[in-house]
Symmetry: C2
């Protein structure tokens, strides 16, 4: 096994969907065989823009954990933990805040984009602005070295590495190692409406917890080709969500190629095509859904897993902080 | 004894001086008889603008504690604690950051003034900007209700009360009570050079730890009246530091009145006058110095006091945080 430590995770603001599945969950199931892997349920970060809805955040901690277990994240191989239960992250965040200027933070392209997207305007909460700093603390508290991210999140890793360099330099220590981003080669899954991103807020997501009926309805409502009105008409493949999904999820590539040819020639109706995609997706989601329902019957068992993972993380975090306190000469009673 | 809880403290960036003595230390010796009193040695806050000099901060934790004990702060009556050892303050700071907007923080008059004074310009560390939020956490983590401050610090209390109101309102709780500022009626002590404020950075301070010799030299170099060149000349009282100090420190008010009259008439030399002030100050500082030297012989005893105070504070802080987590629905394992 490698010496690298992977840190990854999700904000518990909703159940996870197929976009998460292909974008990160499948990779985590692989990573846990190769690396030490910490998976963070980022409730504190979720509160930065959901501070007035703590019940939503709390409820989704369990939902996200259920999704993890259902897709095959194995608590014996991955350490799953709850962010708010690791006070050392907050401590490190406070120390890191001294090493970053306000101007640097405002220049972070990821944050800049998100501030506009979320429409904070003049009332930007300090907690939201500061979240790249707390992300650096999330990663370094477990001595993370590898962080799987999308291209758009690279500035966050850059920011974290700047903080690490400052810290090591100012406090004459080597307690933290440079972080490397892993940009997994995964397709970005569009929503069922064809919009670039599948997301809860856009209401265009297929959840790992969707019932068979819901899945069918969502597939049947998928955007295909607005010009493809009659079965015999030739249809377009580009921008056709059904084919995007088949490309991602159907392992029978020959079959997909045949369907594409048929669709473009004309004579393949949307309903037939969608029924086929439904079968493909149902084959993937059905065992996940089943496993999820099993775990959902015993939430206290799931919470016990989170408790154990949190305990393990607390030990790692305290180990890191003891080095941090030594470097910062705050180890008064050692 | 009152139900009020006093929170007060100092940044450990240097030993304490006569300005602290009349401005806050004497009051604390009184307050500890009337209130539950927590005294914070604010090393985390000191690091916000001394992050690159942690040794200075560390060393002064002991120096400040020695000053406390020397002036009569009694660890059996007051709880003295070290900020960095209370992780709950950082946790609460992170939660509070969601309740304050960046614009609100930038409008804080105290912070605005200090940013200019410290010349941060474009490179303002986030930690410094955020310190009114962490001060709110300092106060509320011990459920403080009374905070002795100077007039210039009132905006900090206002900011803290805004945070408390938001917190109680958003999380439908009454965990925090409104904070009241106590503005003690104390003279603001000018520096020995006559500048408005006695401060370490201005190099115009008389320390509680000054030797008898140092004290004499400082008194002898005091600014009096630049027009008072010969003994027989009439001298001015206004702006004359020696008289300012006599007004504050000499309990023999009749004697001070006589000296003033004599000085204004002419015939009272600066040297005679300063020698008298030296005696007055030496009578005050000498027992403090002696007590300080006693404690300084056994730093481990002093550190033990800080350890105990910190332990007591940790219990209070954990109690507060357990209410906070309940209100924020982050009590996953209760």
């Amino acid at each position: 096994m490698s010496n690298e430590v992977v840190l990854t995770g999700d904000r518990p603001t909703g159940p996870l969907h197929l976009g998460h599945y292909v974008g990160s969950l499948l990779n985590r199931v692989k990573f846990q065989e190769e690396y030490k892997q910490y998976i963070l349920i980022a409730d504190v970060q979720a509160l930065t823009d959901n501070y007035d809805n703590p019940q939503k955040v709390r409820d989704n901690v369990l939902q996200v954990a259920l999704d993890y277990l259902a897709v095959g994240i194995d608590p014996n191989k991955s350490t799953i933990f709850i962010q708010s239960l690791i006070p050392q992250i907050a401590e490190l965040t406070v120390f890191y805040m001294n090493l970053v200027t306000l101007n640097r933070l405002k220049r972070n392209p990821t944050v800049k984009t998100e501030i506009i997207q979320k429409g904070f305007g003049e009332s930007l909460p300090v907690g939201f602005l500061v979240y790249p700093i707390s992300q650096a603390a999330d990663i370094t508290i477990v001595q993370g070295t590898l962080v799987p991210v999308g291209e758009d999140q690279l500035p966050m890793i850059e920011q974290a590495n700047e903080i690490i360099r400052s810290f090591n330099n100012i406090y004459k220590t080597e307690v933290f190692s440079n972080i490397r981003a892993i940009i997994p080669e995964v397709p970005r899954l569009s929503g069922i409406d064809g919009k670039a991103k599948m997301s809860k807020s856009l209401g265009n997501a297929i959840y790992l917890s969707d019932s068979s009926d819901d899945l069918r309805k969502k597939v049947m409502s998928m955007y295909t080709d607005s010009g493809h009105l009659r079965v015999e008409d030739p249809g377009k493949i580009e921008g056709n969500v059904v084919f995007t999904y088949l490309d991602v999820f159907d392992i029978d590539k020959v079959k997909v190629a045949q369907l594409k040819e048929h669709y473009q020639k004309g004579g393949l109706g949307d309903v037939v095509l969608k029924k086929y995609l439904f079968e493909v997706l149902e084959n993937i989601i059905s065992p996940i859904r089943q496993k999820r329902q099993e775990f959902a019957k015993d939430p206290s068992y799931v919470m016990e897993i989170l408790k154990k993972g949190t305990q393990t993380t607390l030990e790692t975090a305290e180990n890191t902080m003891s080095k941090v306190r030594q470097a910062m000469k705050l180890n008064y009673f050692d």
